[in-house]
Each structure stands twice: as C-alpha cells, then as structure tokens.
C-alpha cells in the first residue's frame, strides 16, 4: 500500500521529468500518451492505496521518505500521510486529472508548446498530490506553492497576450498573499511547540494551544485558504485566471487546486475545534463568498467567467460547511463539485472549441443541435450544479445546507438564496448557450462541429460521475459513507450535527423548490433575450467594484509608495552619502584657500599654533 501511495505521488513527477527531457520535436501523440499515462497510472495506484487502506486496522499510515528540513527542534521530513482524507483527495484529484489530461490531448492539438503544457500539467498534479499527501504543514506548503507556480505558468500560457500574462501574475501574487497566512499559521504553531506534523498537531494542539493562539492560527489559515480557494477578500484572481486554456480552468481553477484551501481547513480540524470564533469567521466568509460570487455570476457575459464565479460560490459553500463543522459535507461537495464543475468547464471548452474560441454568451445559442455529445453531458452538469435530485449536487449542497441550518439560521438562509441564484445563473448560461437563436452565425463564418472523441469521452465519464456521486454520502438512515470514512481525521461526524430526519426531509424539499424557482425564472427571462440591463447591473458586472477597490486602495498607493521609495533611494539615501562626500570636498576646496603661497601667512599660522599651545599650557598650569 505504501508503494502504491508512492507510485501515486511519483508517477506525475516522472511524467514531468520525461516530458522535460523529451526531444523538442517529440510528437504530440507521444507527449499526450506520456502525460495522460502517468496520471492514469497515478489514479490506478491511488485506487490500490484506497483499497489497501480499507483493509488496514489503522487508518493513518505515515510513509517517511527522507529527512528534509531538520535542524534544531524543527523536524519536517518528506513524509506522506495516507489516511481517509488524503486518500479521498488523491482519488478524485488523480481521477479528474486523468480525464482532463485525456481531454487536453484533443483540446490543445496544434498549440505551441504542447510539450511544455503537459509538463506543467503533470507537475501540477504532482504538486497537488504533494499538497494532499503531505504528512506535515511544511511539505503541504511545498505542494501549496507548487500548484501556485504551475497555475502561474498555465494561466500565463498564452504569454504573448498581455491579459494572460497579467492574470498569471495576479493569480500568483494573490496566492502569495494567502500564503502569508499559511506561513504565519505554521510559525504560530511552531512557536507553541505543537510541531508541524498533522498527527502531532492533532494530538498536541489541545494541550499546547490557548484559545487565542488557536484563533490566530485559524484566522491565518483562513487567509491562506481564501488566497488559494478564492474566497473573500482574495477571490478576484480566479475570474482572471480564465485566461488560461480551458482544461487548465477545469483542472486547476475548478476541480483541484482551488479546493486546496478547503482541504487545508479540514485537515486542521483539530485546531479549528479549539476556536469557536475562528470557525464562525470561516462560516461567515464562506457564506458571504458564496452569495457575492453567485450574484456576480448572474451578470457575466463570458461563459468561463460565469463558471469561474460559480466555482467561487461553490467553494464558498464548502468553506461555509467547514465553518459550521460539517467537514464531511465540505469534502462531499468538493468531490461532487470536482465532477460537475470539471464537466461544465470541459463542456464549455468543447463549446468554445466548436466556435473557434468564442467565449461570449451573446454570440452563442442553439448549439444543442450541433453538439450532440456536449449538449447532454452539459445538461447533466447544469442540473447537478443547480441542485436537482438525483444529481450529486443536490445531495452535496443539501448536506452543506443542513449543516448550516443546524449551526446558524442566518447563514442557512444566505445559503438558500445563493442556491436560487445558482440555479438562475446556470440556467441562464445553459439557455444562452444551447437554446434560442443561433446567434453565432452573425459572427462566425465556419460551421460549428462536435469535438473529437478524446474530448467527448471525458465528458461522458464526468457526466456519469456527476450523476451518481451523490451515492457517496447519502444522508438517509445516516449512511454518510464518505463522512464516516473521514471522521477519523476530522474528529466530527455528520451524525452529530443534530437535525432530525423530518427536518432533513424538509430541508431537502426546500432545496428542490428553490432550485426549481431559479431554474424557471431564468428560463422565462432568458429564453428570448440576450441582454437585460436591469438584471445585469454594472455593479455586478464589475464584480462589486472589487478590483477597482483593490486598485485604488492598494495597487495604486503601493505603486506610488514604491516609486516614492525609489526616488527616496536615488535622492535621499544616495544623496546623503554624496552629500557627505560633497561636503568633504567642498570643505577641502575651501581649505585650499588657506594655502596662499604667502610665506608670511604660513609663519602666522605657525605662530598662532604656538600661541594655542602656550594658551593650553597656561590654562593647564592654572
């Protein structure tokens, strides 16, 4: 089993190394096979690991590879922690990744730097696996940053487009700000002698951490999570990240990387348990993000932007779940979301592909007819995210909302409103894309066509997954398969949440009703129209002026500060030195006049010198 875990981790790395060392003119088929093969292998190994873990009595297996950062009292080895949580993550990360790799071999056909793309992609998967499989925070941080770097490269993949380059940079820097949180959290933990290994923290947190310290750690972690998982206040890099190729959006910016923050929070559940106020903050941030992002998603014109805000909103749900202690629900939604959001992104990729790169919803319409495979699979995704049974989204979202309801009614209400909005904007997207008039004919000369099989196949697989993933964690009779599985890690079970059976049925009904509400509203509003300014206020289109706020409040002032500092450096710091030097030479030049060449002046100088000596002596003698 440990070997399988190792293979899971290393297969992508080997894939990356092979791709890097491949000849520059290697065929796309070879490159694609290597990359996809590596990830597939990884997925299979993950399966083996999972099975192996199921057959173990101990649900926490540590695999230490070698000592890494060990000095003084710090011991951060390169070690893997295979437990239910990490196995769950491994499985869906490698699974979704494998599908997206396969899809990409079709999508990226003929692109420049094909090999580099897959190398980055493999490296990304490796980093993501490091993140989820690490046995300690420092190593998690390695993966954490690694996915950030890969994200930077992949977002800025079309580097000759300024917008892509800027987006990549923006993504990295926002993440970096979040990373501060993770770093600080590590520092606080370490300075309280909890150690940085997860198992260590789990055992020692309650004794070593005071409530205040725990709150600080939780807040710092939340900052880290909000950077990586695009939550308020650091969410606005994710829409820009859509500048990357669509498979990248699907993999990194929907399914895997952006959920790392949620994973981290769940991972740190033992610390979260120590801080009630910290968890409340998390819940509020999650609920707010879910709501805000959903409102924005209702007014976006770019198909990928809608999906991006949808992702933010869905992750908001996950964070909300973490905040209310429904860790199982969070992971459940994460997995389910990975399926249907990847499906939606890949579907949108297929749409964009068919329209030769067109992403504007207003220039689509009536694609249902020309995309026989994409259309039904997308339909599944749409229904899943809208929260209609029996699709996965219904169960997952239901679990989250149930948790929220038990914890805080206000947050639950916000979640329900968000659910309406979700159904609304997704339906709008769906309608504008596949229904109505074929508006693409106005701008596009060529005829749209369905994508090749390599792209379609993953869509089908994901559609199936999105349909049946709900079975992972069915609430009835308190089955909660997934939740039970990871309870050993998080220490909190869904069965302890305390909503009665009737209550759960009622809540589920409400979910269905609100989803239908949003769905029908969108249908009626958008079936015949492409522009409804009243429903797309500038305020929402401009993302609540969030970017402008940062730009005015932070970006520009900082730029000015930097420029001023530069000026200070040129003018003051250097001038001080030059000034001293100048003063020295000026005084030297002034002194030069003393040397008049007149011997009588010289003699006078000497005489005055003697006078001084004599005066000193007189003074001394008293």
């Amino acid at each position: 089993m440990t070997h399988a875990a190792l293979v899971t981790l290393l297969a992508p790395l080997v894939g990356f190394l092979v791709l890097v060392t491949l000849r520059r003119d290697a065929s796309e088929r070879l490159v694609g096979s290597v990359a996809t093969g590596a990830i597939t292998l990884s997925f299979l190994a993950a399966l083996v690991t999972w099975v192996g873990l199921l057959h173990r009595s101990s649900r926490e297996v540590t695999v230490t590879l070698f000592g890494w950062l060990s000095t003084g009292s710090l011991h951060a080895p390169v070690a893997l922690l295979v437990d239910p949580l990490s196995v769950t993550m491994m499985l869906f990360v490698t699974g979704v990744s494998a599908l997206i790799h396969l899809y990409s071999t079709g999508y990226m056909q003929g692109e420049r730097d094909f090999r580099k793309f897959f190398a980055y992609l493999n490296l990304f998967v490796f980093s993501m696996l490091v993140l989820v499989m690490a046995d300690n925070l420092v190593m998690t941080f390695v993966g954490w940053e690694g996915v950030g770097v890969c994200s930077y490269w992949l977002v800025a993949y079309y580097f000759d487009r300024d917008s892509a380059a800027s987006a990549g940079k923006k993504a990295f820097i926002y993440n970096r700000v979040g990373d501060l949180g993770l770093l600080i959290a590590m520092f606080i933990l370490f300075s309280h002698h909890t150690g940085l290994g997860y198992l260590q923290i789990a055992t020692s947190a309650s004794t070593h951490l005071s409530g205040t310290a725990a709150t600080w750690v939780v807040l710092a972690l939340l900052l880290g999570a909000s950077g990586k998982s695009a939550q308020i206040p650091l969410f606005n890099w994710l829409p820009d990240a859509m500048e990357g190729p669509t498979p990248v959006s699907a993999l990194i910016h929907a399914a895997t990387m952006v959920t790392a923050g949620v994973y981290l929070l769940v991972r740190m559940a033992p610390v979260l348990a120590l801080s009630g106020s910290g968890r409340t903050t998390i819940a509020v941030v999650g609920a707010l993000t879910a709501f805000v992002a959903a409102t924005i998603a209702t007014s976006q014109k770019d198909i990928k932007k809608v999906l991006a805000f949808s992702t933010i909103s869905q992750i908001g749900y996950m964070v909300l779940a973490v905040g209310v202690g429904a860790y199982g629900a969070a992971i459940f939604l994460m997995v389910a979301h990975a399926f249907f959001k990847a499906l939606l992104f890949l579907g949108s990729g297929s749409v964009i592909h068919s329209l030769h790169g067109e992403q504007d919803l207003r220039k689509m319409g009536a694609l249902a007819a020309v995309l026989p495979w994409t259309y039904p699979t997308f339909l599944v995704g749409w229904l899943a995210i809208s929260g209609l049974p029996p699709f996965a989204g219904f169960f997952a979202k239901g679990a989250v909302l149930t948790g929220a309801y038990a914890h805080n009614k206000t947050l639950w209400a916000l979640g329900v409103v968000t659910a309406v909005l979700t159904a609304y904007y997704m339906t709008r997207l769906f309608v504008l894309t596949f229904r109505g008039r074929a508006r693409y004919r106005d701008t596009l000369d060529a005829e749209p066509h369905e994508s090749p099989a390599v792209m379609v196949a993953p869509l089908v697989v994901l559609a199936v997954a999105a349909t049946f993933a709900g079975a992972l964690d069915l609430p009835w009779s308190h089955q909660h398969t997934l939740d039970t599985f990871i309870t050993s890690t998080v220490g909190v079970s869904a069965s302890t949440i305390g909503v009665s059976g009737t209550g759960q049925w009622t809540l589920a009904l409400i979910d269905v009703v609100v989803a239908l509400l949003g769905l029908l509203a969108a249908f009626s509003l958008w079936r015949s129209s492409t522009a409804r300014p009243a429903l797309e206020p500038r305020f929402l289109e401009r993302v609540w002026y969030w970017d402008d706020l940062y730009d005015r409040g932070l970006g520009r002032p900082l730029t000015r500060v930097a420029e001023e500092t530069t000026r200070v450096d040129d003018v003051v710091v250097d001038r001080v030195v030059e000034g001293v030097a100048g003063r020295v030479s000026a005084s030297a030049a002034g002194l030069k006049k003393v040397q008049t060449g007149l011997v009588r002046h010289y003699a006078l100088g000497m005489t005055l010198g003697v006078s001084l000596i004599v005066v000193y002596l007189v003074a001394r003698v008293g």
Partner: protein
C-alpha cells in the same frame, strides 16, 4: 625688594641695555629701509652684548660684537648694497588683511603666555647640580677657561659637528651664488 638686591649701577646698566635692545629691535621692525634696519640691529646687538657683560659673560659679549655686529650684520649690509634693495623701500601699507593684527596677537599671546609660565615657576626651577658634568660658573676662575673646558668636554661633539655646519655654509654659498654659464632657461 628691588632696592635691596640691586645696586644702582647695575640697574643703570640694565636700563641702558634694555633700552638699546628694545629701541634697536623696534627700529629693525619699523624702519623701511633695510640698511637702516640693519644699523638698528647693531644697536640691539650692542644692548645684548652689554647685558652679557652685566651677567659676567664677557667673552660672549666680545663675540657678540665681533661676530654678530662685525661679521653677520656686515654681511647683511653687503648683500643689501649688492642687491641694491635699499633703493626700493617697501610700501608701508600691509597688503595682507589682518596680518598685523594677528601677528601682534600671536606674538603677544605667545610671549605673554611664556612670561606667565615663567613667572608661575618663579622664573627658574632648575638647579645647577642637575647638569651631570657641567662646569660650574665659579667666580674665581676665568670665564673663558670655563667656557673652553665646557666646549671641549660636555659639548665636545657639539663643537666638532659645527665644522660640518661651516662646510655646508661655504658649500652652500658657493653653490647658490654661482652663476650658471649656460643660459638660464625657466622650465
């Protein structure tokens, strides 16, 4: 105090010597014609010789007249005449701003300070016995004998090395005053 220790003739000699010295010195620095200055210097030298005599340094008094007044000043006078600079009396306006004020200040402070220091020390703090092998200035012996003894014992080396000094003087005078045969080109 003064009346008790000093006889009138001595006082008279001192006053005369002091007058000669100061007047002569003031003449040197105030007269514009170098020739006059040189002559004034001779007055000072006579005053100094007189005070030497008064302080029982008879031989030195003689040397002072013969060597200083007789040789050195004559040499100076000779050069003044030779160069003819007496015909170009210097302008009495001091061209250097503040030179005189500061010169006076420097001289006054220095001399005043030295006098203060001397006075604080009761004018003399040494004792004769300090000299390891100095010859005492006893009244019975001739001063010249003692001087001779001192020169050839305590100051034997000093005396001998004056020879080097004199060689330099000769050599220097010859070297400096010699005219170059080749044309003098300023480089």
């Amino acid at each position: 105090m003064l009346a008790l220790t000093t006889t009138w003739p001595d006082l008279l000699v001192f006053i005369t010597a002091a007058a000669l010295i100061v007047v002569g010195a003031l003449g040197v620095i105030s007269l514009t014609n170098p020739v006059h200055s040189a002559l004034s210097l001779i007055i000072t030298l006579f005053g100094v010789a007189l005070s030497f005599l008064e302080q029982s340094a008879d031989f030195l008094a003689a040397v002072e007249i013969i060597v200083y007044a007789g040789a050195i000043v004559v040499l100076i006078l000779f050069v003044i005449m030779y160069l003819g600079v007496d015909r170009h009396p210097h302008d009495e306006v001091e061209p250097l701003v503040g030179q005189r004020v500061f010169a006076a200040l420097g001289a006054l402070v220095t001399v005043g300070g030295i006098i203060t220091l001397m006075a604080k020390s009761h004018w003399v703090t040494g004792v004769m016995s300090a000299s390891m092998n100095g010859t005492s200035l006893s009244s019975g012996q001739g001063e010249i004998t003692q001087l001779g003894q001192s020169v050839f014992t305590t100051y034997l080396v000093a005396f001998e090395v004056t020879a080097a000094l004199l060689i330099i003087a000769v050599l220097g005078a010859v070297q400096l005053a010699r005219r170059d045969r080749e044309s003098e080109v300023e480089q």
